[in-house]
Amino acid sequence: MTSFTPTTSDEVLSTVAWAAAEESPLEILGHGSKRGIGRPQQCEHTLDLSKLTGVTLYEPAELVLSAKAGTPLADIETLLAENAQQLAFEPMDYGPLLGGEPGKGTIGGVLAANLSGPRRLKAGAARDHILGINAVSGRGEAFKSGGRVVKNVTGYDLSKLMANSWGTLAAFTDVTFKVLPAAETEVTLAVRGLLDDAAAAAMALALGSSAEVSSAAHLPERIAARVAGGTLGSEAATLLRVEGFGPSVAYRIAALKTLLGKAGPLEEISGEASRLIWRDVRDCRPFADGTEKPVWRVSKTPGEGHQMVLTLRMQAAVSAFYDWQGGLVWLRMEEGDPEAALLRGLLRKHGGGHATLVRAAPSHRAALPVFEPQAPALAALSARLKQEFDPRNILNPGRMA
């Protein structure tokens, strides 16, 4: 078992080219903050990109930042914050949920896992902000795609294809992201005491207004107490975040209050308290309990998430909360069994979507499809694509199986 720790793109290229010639599988790592997601790897060697670091281009007025793939996300977020900018897609930190330290993770990992956060509703995910990449395919060839400008349709968008590929298509050496101004202010309006169905209706109403709600989450009773150090109390909280320039935020919050006046008791939360709540929703803190109890990340048509959960509850003990207006359902299986077949069966019955087993004991991850199985024609197409990038199956083999 050898760990390769390249410090330059050329070293990444020679390592992967060597592994391709040897047909010797590589596990690709940054900080390893998401190593527990996917089928457990048993590779002979690791390709550790955590020393391939550095921001190589940052032009705030052009809204663009390029960095070596192993650059810590935390460093990039600090640099952007100094210029009142941000990665608008708000990449989540899996560290706390998976039993690791918070604040780890590399910018390459952000793309490989297609991370996003509560602002996904309005601003998209990593795939919506990636502008260009340099990478080394499993063929041992360095290729590039995209560029450094925010509008570009030249050739196939292989940069997007890398999003959510979990290191199975190529090892990135450089990534270029679109960056955006950070909002001047944020205020969260909380509607208290709603059951899941009433919360879904309230969120749909808010999102269908012109208040430009950037995030909408519902924390059912007892879950609510598990964010931001318990400041919300235990009563169910339906949270609507409004961001922007001061006068605009005040106006839109007032409009939401009028709109939702009859939905339930309202609370206004601003500044640091609001930021903490959304950080904890983003990082799935309510289930960051230091255990290996299975946790699912379910992507669904927003309005239908709670109905699926209701049916699921009749057959299994689950805790659940909702982000993205209900389009992202976080589920913790309280009895320790992932219940994959049950959950995925219900998903199909309730309008489709997909479920990823983001936390589970290695034995469960080795035995179950962690990622949603695809229909045969689509699965075959994905397999052909993998073959075109990594014909000898040396990059994170089997991780997405």
Partner: protein, 498 residues
Amino acid sequence: MSGLAMPKPDDATMRRRDEIVADMRIIVPGEGVVDAANSMRAFESDGLTAYRQLPLVVVLPQTVAQVSRVLKYCNDRNIRVVPRGSGTSLSGGSLPLEDAVLLVMSRFNRILAIDFSNRVVVAQPGVTNLGITTAVEQEGFYYAPDPSSQIACSIGGNVAENSGGVHCLKYGLTANNVLGIEMVLMNGEVVRLGGSHLDAEGYDLLGVMTGSEGLLGVVTEVTVRILKKPETARALLIGFPTSEQGGQCVADIIGAGIIPGGMEMMDRPAIHAAEDFVHAGYPLDVEALLIVELDGPSVEVDHLITAVEAIAIRNGSTTCRISQSEQERLSFWAGRKAAFPAVGRISPDYYCMDGTIPRKELPRVLAGMRELSETYGLGVANVFHAGDGNLHPLILYDANVPGELDKAESFGADILRLCVKVGGVLTGEHGVGVEKRDLMPEMFNQIDLDQQMRVKCAFDPNHLLNPGKVFPQLRRCAELGRMHISGGKLPYPDIPRF
């Protein structure tokens, strides 16, 4: 056709034309097959009218099953297929081939579902871009990407080209507003990607399909996100003595954390052409004219108008008008929106380019263009999506003067080379098509292009779908798949364990 090499027609296919037409009539009964030269004339070119070619036969399917059967039939018999939506491509993306079936999706023109509580619309690919907004605007919603051809262009074509528009800096391109598609592969298989949920599972095939220019699959259904219309919009019309000052003003607006709904710049020739045509009241003594539109609640718009005005004055603007009514806002846009036909009035023909550059390079690129303009002896007017650096130079020429079209194309190619040289790209929103195909090596080396072609191999291993577009030279998939490792010898036998 000025020196554009297209794939050599396949003799076997040409010989079997009558049989193919008859078989197509069986798959698509009724009015869905057009084979008379006169009737096919309407399909011989798209928005890039310099290139024309009659197809083998035109087929207009009405159901997904028909699309699947046509593609499978052609795949089994090695017959090429060119897909077409409304035919508004500016890069020749749907230019027919002599030996290819032209698969026209215009009869897929129904909206299938509208869901306001989840804010999605499901449409067939032949529905126009504007048609989606029309279907939902009574409830105050709209579909954000608005390419200038939106009245005619189809949503399926938008997916193929990853279309943009003037609002895409704030609201994104097609790729950011499409949640799911159904498509048919060349082998006839029907595949669904995404849906009405936000994240798709597995590899982001939707991301690759968007902007793939009809080379990977034929889209048969599209799910898009719709947005609530902003409460209000106001615009500023700002003139500057130099393009540098205009460019700096744009940088400072973004530096202040403001992302306007639209931000457009025009140079002196474009301003004059537009003003002569629509009399929008544009100042004629400026080198750069900037339109900045802010949208949202009126309290926000008023707040930002003041901020942008201050930034404009700091950058030495010589005029700055702020729209006081919806009518005035529209009058600011009237000139910009009429810029292309306005240029068409001052020149018999014009050729529209589409590079994107890092915005700070604008003065250098404009200066380079002026030099090229003198070298080639052809005029050029510029409109510019200033927020995202997408430049549309309009090269003025006269197709009736022998050699001028060639000259205009060479001029355009030089402009795009200049864009790439300063860190930009060949095309921001019009696509590569046939137009910029042979310039791809300016941006990509052979390894880059080979990897893109391998993606094509995963979808269409026989290169039957829309060949001759995007890639300067198609290489066989078997050849692309080979790994070049010399006879068992490791290329890196002594690799250091760094």
